[in-house]
Symmetry: C2
Subunit: 349 residues, 2 copies
Amino acid sequence: MGCAVLPLTLSFVTMDQVNLKRLAKELGLAISTVSRALRDSHEISQETKDRVQALADKLGFQPNPHASSLRKNKSKTIAVIVPEIENNFFSGAINGIELIAKQKGYHVLIYLTHEDFQLEKGILQLLQNGRVDGLMISVSNTTTTADHLIASSQAGLPIVFFDRVFEDLDVPMITTDDIEVSFKATEYLIKKGCKKIAFLSMAENLSISKRRHSGYQKAIEKYLPGGWHKTVPCTPNDEQNRQVINNLMEEPDAPDGIFAAVEKFAINTYQVCNERKICIPQQLKVISFSNYSATALFNPPLSSIIQPAYEIGREAAAILFKIIENKKLLTSENKVILPSQIIYRGSTN
Amino acid sequence: MGCAVLPLTLSFVTMDQVNLKRLAKELGLAISTVSRALRDSHEISQETKDRVQALADKLGFQPNPHASSLRKNKSKTIAVIVPEIENNFFSGAINGIELIAKQKGYHVLIYLTHEDFQLEKGILQLLQNGRVDGLMISVSNTTTTADHLIASSQAGLPIVFFDRVFEDLDVPMITTDDIEVSFKATEYLIKKGCKKIAFLSMAENLSISKRRHSGYQKAIEKYLPGGWHKTVPCTPNDEQNRQVINNLMEEPDAPDGIFAAVEKFAINTYQVCNERKICIPQQLKVISFSNYSATALFNPPLSSIIQPAYEIGREAAAILFKIIENKKLLTSENKVILPSQIIYRGSTN
DNA sequence: CTGTTAGCGCGTTCAA
DNA sequence: TTGAACGCGCTAACAG
């Protein structure tokens, strides 16, 4: 027993492709007339339009997108390039992007870099020749140069950055108030009594790493000038991170506060604390960037910095479409900064 | 200050499009020769191939995908249709799909139905005319008929279902051992002493709802024949669910065990229990489908049924490509059932 | 081994 | 108001 449906239909399709030619023949019209009728051209009589539309509906005509794209030099497609997708921030952004794309009648291609610069370069190469009308990217954490992005941009491909950006490029970008919110989060830990706050950091070359670190540093300098501070580089690897955090907590002057640059590191911290029987928040207070709302159910509930992922996606897509449609961007749209939200919970009490 | 890069380059592109014609002219060759050289045809001399390749590399030539697709009637693109993306199960599946697609040199279009049947129908309509070479879908929970899918399939579009399927269709599908694993989960609750286990259910028309319910029911019938059981319909709306669960827990014979068909409902249960000071697992044991690993950090840690999302995605994509490539499917590939994994944690102690 | 030609399906010019 | 013809960029059949 196989798939009865498919073999049956292959021949069907080959013979009965529904395209302009077919419609034209069945209606006794020229192809161009049918084409114009369907595009509601003013130079076609209403009667003809109706006849054409009726048959098109009946046969479920859909114009061949490749022919159309080739002719119009427009793909009606945008690309989203993200490091990973099993991450509520990126999937939230994609959700927002998809909303706008759908409204515009656009299709959305997804590419994952898995934090690999070479992959990212390859993807940009692939998108070079008209496959998409524009792209949005959050760069991988191994990306240290923007040459591939500049090249694409110079080849005429509209690009919008979001979250993980290259700040010195003259390309529209949507970010969040990382510096301010990181300052606030660190400040909060300090006000709650932390004297030794460690910053769990992602790859240092990343724009968001720098900004989050900068907010942390500013708070330390303001409230604990010359005091204890430590930046702990973490990785995408859980086991490795747990090892690093374990070592950190073993030291004589272990931290009494953790500011995690991404949710993963907070989770690794919780895991280590569970193992070592370190009490959060009594012995160690923890606050972290996170876009998973159920961190409220953690033990203890995790104080979280929530980025407006959905809005970032919507905003980035909206700006990309303005570029695609050759609309002029407002000055403010070149660098959009959206506010994150901090929810203080049990992990910082 | 605007985007200096873009305006500059638009004219560049328009004048200097790099295509076969351009390469041919610069090399003094025929277009077809260049085409064949680049496709490494055996009927082209090595010397010519080298010359062509060199110039192509120098100019960063990428064949126009629309022209290519139009000519070959192949889009090198597949579509993934899922209800939502901010959900670790679906994002995990997409991750697996993307892996295989990348290996095959394919592109991946994402469509979200937001659990809306009309949207789902519209998307299938869009994919009708060659935009993709095949699609994979997990149907929305408001989808009660497969007509739109059958129509596409009959129009020659390869389709593979995953997770949320239509079981009576003759189309390949990848699912998990929902019945067995639901039986086991319920059985476990019973062995842990639960006498009154409620099943928090999704839309009843969904294949996975039925299967998960069936496993639950079998366990009840086997171990508590004629005993207390209750199926509680939940929705995508958190507030509504909390209300429903609240009412449930208020009743004189409230349940002492919850089996949640999706993670969201377990979270809603935890929220209600927090409010009502109901102790998990002493007063109420909870087990749930979930693909978020950090449920281990919940208070108490949530016993979870983890579906192999990534493998489902990989397997579904692999089978879709077999169909696209006209390879014969093994009988076993028409209905693939992958095992889920249960991790028992504090919520069922 | 290379060139010429035709045509994928559509949209647009030019004619009528 | 409609039709005929061309070309988007590429691939494949046919010639030489």
